[in-house]
Amino acid sequence: MNELRKQTDVVNAQLARYGVKFGIYKNNEFKEQLFPFDPIPRMIGKDEFEYLNRGLIQRVKALNCFLKDIYSDCAIVKDGVVPEEFIYASSGYLPECKGICPPKGIYSHISGIDLVQSKDKTWYVLEDNLRVPSGASYPMIAREICRRSSPRTFMEQEIADNRDYADLLKAVMDYSNTGGINVILTPGRYNAAFFEHSYLAEKTNSVLAVCNNLVVEDDYLYYIDYNNTKQKVGAIYRRISDEFLDPMTFREDSLIGIPHIMEAYKKGNVAIINALGNGVADDKGIYYFVPKMIQYYLKEEPILNNAPTYLPFYEKDMEYVLEHFDDLVLKDVAEAGGYGVVFGNSMTPEEKEKLITMLKNEPRRFIAQEVIDFIDIEIQEGDEVVPRKADLRAFVLTKEDTVVWKSGLTRFSRNPDSFIVNSSQGGGFKDTWVLCQ
């Protein structure tokens, strides 16, 4: 591994060569940035991965059951496990999806589960991402390049090959496909994750499309070829959010959507990956209930821990939150991407008072969590190795069975004092090695 560290510049030069970038908007101008790569991998031992594997599969299965239930019988609400306020007030809940059964009954085909490890080595799930989780392409291409740059490292150590992600993804698309081609829908090259969209299209042999290339006619979705023949689309891996997907059903002003795709979807004529309406299950408020879902649907005890979470919605929890305000981190359920997260102990008295008023007025809007003392992970800075906070996004794919990709995206914070690892806020990434021994 030391040898790999020496190759940092080589690896980064190769990443630049292949255009491993993400886009950001600064002062209304689009800029592409290289996604800083750190050569020191996060290593996960065989047994540890075995544990994560079981826990993640269990969690994603329960989340898929939950989504199916919420859009059909709502048994979990009727049985009083999840209060209905948490379902219907969630911006991710789409009444338009009520009664629609997606092809093969799968809602979350690609789930990105964000985990952190505390100092005592316990893993905690921080967040579920069931809409359009991104990031798998980065460790995939980084592995390819690291193997080229330091072949000896990979001879000496047996590491599960993660370049099978494209095959897994293709199998997911093929399984749900209703007959026709596989398409990846991108909002366009000025999207933050365009590299990923185009790279995954290349590697899965899917057609990369923007909205103008696709039309719905008589409840079927077609890709329009250049000599005006229409190719039926059987599965669409869309990398745009629900509200923009169909201007005839959701936001009428969407310029990146496909009119009437909802009608094709309702009739079961196309698989949309991931399904619409998944936002209700990865809502920060619903997160609290995931362990309960596992018990409810699978009749099993949850394997993975949630970070200890309080819902001010419950009076008992509100009392606890007010009492231990300074020890907790508060999250606004409506925000994403590391925004809307505040630490109780870092606020001025005015800010604190303001937040407590908001909390009392809209208790459903917030969750409070114990601050987990993350384990530090080593990153290279110049010639030095320094400790930084990092998380792990595990990718869980669902076809006939549910499988966990033997890798993941490890994101770290550049700033020594920060817990926020999002690339939109300047973090970098690492490869994640799952060891065979």
Binding site: I87, A89, P95, T249
Partner: protein
């Protein structure tokens, strides 16, 4: 029982030819516990593809597209309606579908001024939702004056409240906002009313398994003059027409809604 006859005609004109036109029409009344629709005819002009569907709220739609150049578009709906004496509709899935009519939406969001105003509203926890809805309707009716041009289709309840002016849509949003403030499930209704030239909007209030119609614009309970078309959380779920096209055209729209009461048995 009352016999009514209705027509809903809408005609669009485009100043220059348009292409890539998509539309969804949500203006088709259906039979419910309180109304029976007969001899319904729905026709659409200038389309290439046309299908019938149902949205997530159970409303009927006609949707389609036209990729070829055209300069006009229209739809025409007509039929007969029998209205029963009882003016309510049963909710068949109260446990799975009621909850969506409780949270405020972007449009019905309660502002500070509104909250202040709602607190003064006569609301009696011991009375039924139905009875409270009467008080609330009256209260909202007095809060704003009817005015054609003060608001538009995207005006929120709080904006209308500040203006103290509005049309049926604004009355309905404000009343829904207030009902939900008191934890009473309420939904937005689009329909037709005897003697009007346009479509109308009102409110349905949930009480013990049934939905009751209230018309805050006219400060009255919904009766034999009203034919319901659709319902949803707010205006945006019930848009009569959604459309999208390519072209540099300006569009104009003529709407003609006509409801006649034919007789009573």
């Amino acid at each position: 029982m009352y016999h009514l006859k209705f027509t809903y005609d809408s005609q669009f004109h485009f100043t220059t030819p348009i292409v890539g036109h998509y539309f969804t029409v949500k203006a088709i009344p259906q039979s419910t516990d309180r109304q029976m629709i007969r001899n319904l005819s729905v026709s659409v002009d200038d389309y290439e593809f046309l299908n019938s569907g149902k949205d997530g709220f159970g409303n009927l739609t006609k949707y389609g597209s036209n990729s070829k150049e055209h300069t006009s578009f229209g739809f025409h709906i007509k039929g007969e309606c029998e209205l029963y004496e009882e003016q309510f509709e049963a909710e068949r899935n109260p446990s799975t579908f009621l909850g969506i009519y409780l949270p405020q939406t972007q449009v019905t969001m309660v502002s500070n001024n509104m909250e202040h105003f709602f607190k003064q509203c006569p609301f009696y926890p011991t009375e039924s939702n139905y009875q409270n809805a009467f008080h609330i309707m009256q209260y909202i009716y007095q809060a704003i004056t009817y005015c054609q041009n003060a608001t538009n289709i995207s005006t929120t309840a709080s904006e209308a409240f500040e203006l103290k002016q509005g049309v049926c849509q604004d009355y309905a949003h404000l009343m829904i906002s207030c009902l939900r403030y008191f934890k009473i499930p309420a939904r937005y209704v689009v329909g037709m009313m005897a003697g009007e030239g346009y479509s109308h909007a009102w409110v349905e209030v949930y009480d013990k398994g049934y939905w009751f119609g209230f018309d805050p614009t006219n400060n009255q309970e919904v009766d034999h003059q009203y034919i319901k078309i659709s319902h949803g959380r707010d205006y945006s779920d019930c848009m009569v027409i959604k459309g999208l096209f390519r072209g540099n055209a300006l569009q104009s729209q003529d709407i003609k809604v006509c409801v006649e009461i034919e007789g009573q048995e």
